[in-house]
Each structure stands twice: as C-alpha cells, then as structure tokens.
C-alpha cells in the first residue's frame, strides 16, 4: 500500500474499500478478548475457519476475530452481522450449526440470550439487557474490527477525525474544541484534558512529547487493555490529533508488558499507520510530522503514576520524582510531556469529527461523554460496560450487571481499586460522576467497579487492597513504605481476630500521616479505601476489636 498523500486520497481509499464490502454478506465476529480467550475462544475461531474452508465459503461468509465485545461473563462470544445476532458461550461443536443458520439467514435459538428469570429470549444486541442500557461510543466498534487490519478501522469511519483536524483546523482550533468539550481525564483524576494540553503546548521548550498511559494497574480494571487490544487505531488517532494540537513531534504508548496479544495488535497498528502515511513525515500532506514508539511497563502499579512512567520511558526505575514540578512542563528528559489515559485519547477522534457540542450533550453537568466501566466481583454479568456519565449506579449494577450473584443482596460497591473507596448499597442511586463519587468517598478512578455481596468482610477487602499496594509501590518514601506495612499488619491482625484496643486510632493516625506526607498519589490515597470504610462500615471494624479482645465469637 503506497502512502496516502492527502485527505482526499484517504477518503477515496475509504470509499473504494466500502464499495468492495457487501453489507449483506454475513460476517461472524468471534471475540478473542482476554476473557473469551481464557475460555478458549481460539478453538471456536479455528473451528469457524476450518468449517468455512471445508465448505469453501470464501465468497459467501466472512469470519473475523476481534477484541472484547463487552459481555465477558458469557464468553466465548460470537456476533453475526447483519443484525448483530449475539451468541453466547459458544463451543467449537456449535460452529457448523451457526454457519448453516447464518447462510440461511436464520438464528440458532439455543445459543441466544435467555433471561434467567422469565426465560425470554433476546436475539439482537440491541435487545440483550446487558447491552441495551449502554451507550457504546468507544467500545461499540470492537465487534466490527479485526485489530490486525487497519482497513476495518477505516471501514467504521476511522481517521476521519484526524483528516478533519489536519485539513480544516489549526492546532489552536483543535485545542479549543477539546477544551470546549470539557473532556476530563479517564485515568483517575478527572483532570480537564484541554487545560493540560494547553500547558504543554505553551511550555517554551520546542521538543514536546505526548504519551498514552496504558499501564492499567488498577485492580479490577480491564477496559484500557480491551480498547488497546481491540481497537488500537482509535487511541492512536486520538494521540496524533493531540500531538498536532499540542505541537509534539513524538509520542509514546506505554503499556502492559504481560499481554502478548495487545503487543501484537499495537505493533501492527503502528506499522500499518506508518505504511499508510498516518505516522511519519508530512502526514496526509499537511506538513505535520509525528512518530510514535511503543514502551512496556515494568509491571508494578506505581509505573502508572505520571512521573514514574516518564522515568521508566527514560530507561530508569519507575520511581516518582520528588520535584515540585508538573510533567506537562518538565516531563520525559525534562521536556514538556502530555500524558493521558487510553480512554481519554480514545475520546478525541469523535470530539473532533462530531464536535464539542455533540460531546457535551452526553453525560452529566460536570462530567461529559461516556465512561467505560469494568464490572466485576459478585455481579451476575461481569464485563466491560460503557454508559453516559451521570448514569445511576443502579442501572450499572442491576439493569446491566444483572444484580448480585447467587441471589444474594448487595452490601457495597467499590470503585477505583486500591486507591478508591467503598460505599454502602443504599447509595445505589448516586449518579456516575467524577465529583459526586469523590465526595461520597468512592472516586471512580479508572473505572473498576467491584460489587460486594452480603457475605463480604470489609476488613478483608481493606487488607487485600493494602496488601496489593504494599507490593506495588516503589518503596522510596517512608510514610508510604512503612505506613502501609503497619496498616497491613494491623488489618491482618483484625482479620485474624487478633484486634487490639487502640488499633482503630492507630489506623486513623497512619491514614492521616501517610495521606499527607507521601511523595506520590499512591501513598497519598492508600488510606482512602479504609477511610471510606470508617465512614460507612465502622461498626464492623469496631465489633472486630471487641470480639477479638476476649469476646466469645473469635473465629
């Protein structure tokens, strides 16, 4: 494929591509996302390919392997177009039947969704309860894309945002649009992306960098990897647009070292984008040059922190910098560096192609757009969900998540992993909103939502999260390294029924000092889960002390 020299060439290429594709030709999309892969979706995909080869179905049917569809609980997932017919828990033995039905335009009834209570069936994606309450602007393309093929991204309108930015907008206009859209960072802080871009743009130093934070170390969060693995070009397109607005010449994708499929797809995406002239010199004839490098994390949670991540890209150990400076001005090699989360970047192309006004029409007053949420824990439907900001948690938990597993009742909802917090079930009507959830003590963080049922021991939850942090911090500063170890010891004692008088006061002291004295946000927020539990579940902690200080019900 020769390089696309201009926007017109790209649109011509897209038109030819679409003309060659017959929308009526059935396509079977087999999910190869992490969860489905764990349930051997590879065997299902292989069976489809083998059957199609045996029956010589080349012209009649297409088989596509894709990234995560969302409904991980019911994998291996298969979606058949046209019609978005969803088949769940598909086994290789089901393959001939699916092919036969698809060729006849029929549906394999026994493999479609069945309501566990009423037995009512749902055939199409738009009818399946898990999907029908969602607004899948970001992840919705996953079933339509083979991540190894840039053509599939073009076919869903990919790189139209970049074309618009490069050919009809100045960098300042792109920046203004993103600011107007009030796009807030999806990596945890909810910081306005536009202001951050502007800081880097206005920094005097000419060499500037843009970075994708794809570390995703938060426990119970798995949507960034699903996006990067399933639709890498979307993130790359956002990054290139951002680089144009900011005036950066180079970008880095910083991502997980432990996901071979993600690596393969991102490498391929970078190679294909370069081949098509979407990376490199004079992109689409605009005079804008930009290259992008892939970098892998070192596997500990703190590598996702901005200054640690940048040190890691420089080739140093991922330790947060003690300096009171902003990475947007003094980042990688002290150059202005703008870091955003995978999902933040993924939002950029649609903001540019559809406009800030469209974007701000979705969401709550102060949190715009949609949010990807990883649903897990004691929930009926675990998976990746996308809803407008402001959606009540009840919709997430019950309408989409199907409620609590095994008919149990809901006790608590935990957001934000080890730096987040838990709220009790009676706050279920709270809207999903950056500021609102923070006020409640359960900031959405990256978007890992953990459901906890009536049997959950909140002390054990706090212990588990603290244990995670103790092993995933860098260990450089005293309050975090020592404070968390002490908290962990006390929590461990409490879970073992060895609580002592004064333990809770000691924990409160440790939360306070670790919170204010730690160097980076990992330490600073390490006590947040505990804090939220002291706010809502204190009696549970208190009773543990009483009972272990000589009560009769020691376990």
């Amino acid at each position: 494929m020769p390089k696309l020299q201009s926007a017109a060439e790209l649109e011509k290429f897209r038109a030819e591509l679409l003309a060659k594709r017959d929308p009526a030709k059935p396509c079977i999309a087999v999910c190869a996302g992490a969860a489905c892969d764990g349930m051997d979706s590879a065997a299902v995909a292989a069976a489809f390919l083998a059957e199609a080869a045996t029956q010589k179905l080349d012209g009649k049917l297409e088989i596509r392997t894709t990234g995560c569809h969302g409904y991980c609980e019911k994998g291996p997932n298969v979606v058949v177009t046209p019609g978005d017919i969803c088949y769940f828990e598909v086994q290789p033995t089901d393959v001939p039947e699916i092919i036969a039905a698809t060729l006849k335009g029929e549906v394999v009834e026994r493999l479609v969704y069945k309501d566990p209570a009423t037995g009512a069936k749902a055939v199409h994606m738009s009818e399946v309860p898990f999907y029908k309450h969602q607004t899948r602007l970001l992840i919705g393309d996953n079933p339509k894309i083979d991540p190894m093929r840039i053509d599939d991204y073009f076919a869903v309108g990919g790189y139209a945002g970049l074309v618009k930015a490069l050919t009809t907008m100045t960098p300042e206009q792109v920046l203004a649009e993103v600011k107007k859209a009030n796009l807030r960072g999806r990596g945890g802080g909810g910081f306005p992306a536009g202001s951050k871009w502007e800081t880097t743009r206005n920094a005097p130093e000419k060499t500037k960098y843009v970075i994708v934070n794809g570390h995703e170390g938060e426990s119970a969060a798995f949507m960034d990897r699903a996006m990067l693995t399933g639709n890498p070009h979307k993130i790359l397109e956002g990054l290139i647009i951002g680089a144009y607005a900011i005036g950066a010449q180079k970008g880095f994708m910083y991502t997980r070292h432990d996901m071979p499929l993600l690596e393969k797809h991102v490498r391929q995406a970078l190679a294909q984008a370069t081949e098509y002239g979407l990376l490199g010199e004079n992109i689409l004839g605009s005079g804008f040059n930009f290259e992008c490098e892939l970098h892998f994390d070192v596997g500990i949670f703190v590598s996702g922190e901005s200054s640690a991540l940048m040190r890691s890209i420089e080739g140093n150990a991922p330790e947060p910098r003690p300096k009171y400076i902003r990475t947007s001005v003094n980042g990688i090699w002290d150059k202005p560096s703008n870091l955003n989360n995978v999902e933040t970047w993924a939002n950029v192309p649609q903001i540019i192609s559809k406009g800030a006004e469209w974007f701000t029409s979705i969401g709550s007053e102060k949190s715009k757009g949609t949010k990807l949420i990883s649903l897990s824990g004691n929930v009926v439907n675990s998976g990746i969900v996308e809803v407008p900001m402001g959606t009540p948690l009840r919709t997430l938990v019950f309408d989409i998540g199907g409620g609590v597993r095994d008919g149990k009742t809901l006790k608590a909802i935990h957001f934000g992993g080890a730096m987040g917090g838990s709220i009790p079930a009676d706050l279920i009507d709270a809207p999903l909103d950056f500021d609102g959830m923070s006020k409640l003590g359960a900031p959405i963080g990256a978007g890992g939502l953990l459901l906890m049922d009536e049997d959950t021991d909140m002390i054990e939850v706090a212990r588990y999260l603290m244990d995670f942090l103790v092993n995933e911090s860098c260990g450089k500063c005293v309050p975090c390294r020592e404070g968390m170890q002490q908290m962990l010891q006390i929590l461990t004692r409490l879970t073992e029924g060895q609580g002592r008088k004064g333990d809770l006061e000691l924990l409160e002291d440790l939360i306070e000092v670790t919170g204010v004295a730690s160097l980076c946000a990992l330490g600073k927020t390490s006590g947040d889960p505990l804090k939220s539990m002291f706010r809502y579940f204190k009696p549970e902690y208190e009773s543990r002390i009483v009972s272990s200080a000589g009560g009769s019900d020691n376990k």
Partner: protein, 222 residues
C-alpha cells in the same frame, strides 16, 4: 541572581532563586530535621521528615523542604501541630527498624515519638538511600544499590563491584544513620569474597557520624 523574600517561622528571609526552603532556613540558622538529605547528593525526598507547612496564595500545603523551591512571599512554618505529628509518626515508623539510631533517638525526644509504638521489624536499614546515592553520585562506583520495590525494598552490595571498590573506600559506613551499611557490606564480604579483600587494609572502624548541628549528615571525612 534574583533575590526572593519569604517568611520562615515569622522571620523575613532572603534567598536566591533556585534555593530550596531547607537551604534558605539553614542559612538563617533555622533548624529543620532531615534524614535522607546530604548536601553532596541530589535531593531524594524519601524520608519526609523535613516536611514543613507552606502557605501560598491562601493555600496551606505540606511539602518537603529539601526539594521545595523558595518562592516570593510564601509563608513557611517549620513546626505546627500537624508537622510535629507527621514527624512523630514517621520517627515511630523508622524506630520499628532502628530503635537505637542516635539520630532517631534525638528526634524521638523532640517530637515525643514512642519507639515501641509499632512492632519491631527484622531489618534495621531505614532505606534512606544515603549509601546507594553516595556511592553512585559521589564515588560513581555503584557498589551498592537498591533491590526490589515496595515493602521489600532493600539495599544490597553487588559482590562483583564491592570486591574491587569497597576495601579502600567504605565512606558510606559513616553516613549511614543506622550502621546497616557496614553490616551489609561485611555480610556480603563474608559470603561472596571472604579473605579476598586487600590483606593490609583492616576494616576501618566506622566512625560514628559526627554531627555538629543536627541539621544534616556530617560531611564525610576521608
């Protein structure tokens, strides 16, 4: 050089741009406790004992003075109820490792820290990194480094380098606030290269760090 005027503990203080709050304070003879700071080394910001209260444009924040740069009109308080509490708890946490460190004992007295508040820990290294950074930045030998992360972080001599470099240096022994550096070295030697150290040289009895004013680790005597 631009002169900057700030307030530390109610006193108007002049400082040069680029100085840290700690430097500005020391220059005026105002004491701020430090542990991981060493004037020959790049700021580390690890122990957090030098934390002070800073008021700037109506905002109060807690910053480590060994890193925080002076700025016009900021108001610094080197002690307050909160600052003292932070230092007390930090010292208590460190004393779980090194209850007998003279430096920590002195600070414990100052801030009312209880050396037995937390359960004793096996290692008496407080991971201040002075040895590691001194060997790297001043001696440029990298004979001792950090290994592992989080709660498991510790220092370790690298036998291949230590065998060659350490016998006539050992300067880190004196700057270590807990004498762990020496212990770790001797253990490395005993395990990895016993008797291979230059015969004539005896391990210098590590001089206890001499501290004139308890502000920063004493300059290393060679």
């Amino acid at each position: 050089m631009t002169e900057i005027v700030l307030t530390i503990d109610g006193k108007e203080v002049k400082a040069r741009a680029g100085m840290t709050v700690l430097q500005a304070a020391q220059q005026e003879g105002i004491y701020i406790p430090t542990l991981c700071h060493h004037e020959k080394l790049e700021a580390f910001g690890g122990c957090r004992l030098c934390m002070v209260e800073v008021e700037a444009r109506g905002w109060t924040s807690y910053v480590v003075s060994c890193v925080y740069p002076v700025a016009k009109d900021i108001v610094v308080r080197t002690r307050s109820e909160k600052v003292d509490k932070i230092r007390k708890v930090l010292v208590e946490e460190l004393m779980a490792h090194a209850p007998d460190s003279p430096e920590l004992i002195r600070m414990a007295e100052e801030y009312g820290a209880d050396r037995d508040r937390f359960e004793r820990s096996a290692s008496f290294c407080i991971v201040c990194g002075l040895c590691v950074r001194y060997c790297n930045e001043v001696k440029q030998k990298n004979a001792v480094g950090f290994i592992d992360n989080g709660a498991r972080r510790e220092i370790s001599f690298i036998p291949e380098v230590a065998r060659k470099e350490c016998w006539d240096c050992q300067e880190c022994f004196a700057i270590c606030p807990t004498s762990y550096a020496q212990a770790a070295y001797l253990l490395t030697e005993a395990l990895a290269f016993p008797g291979q150290r230059k015969e004539a040289v005896k391990v210098k009895k590590a001089p206890k760090p001499k501290r004139v004013i308890p502000i920063m680790p004493a300059p290393v005597t060679t």
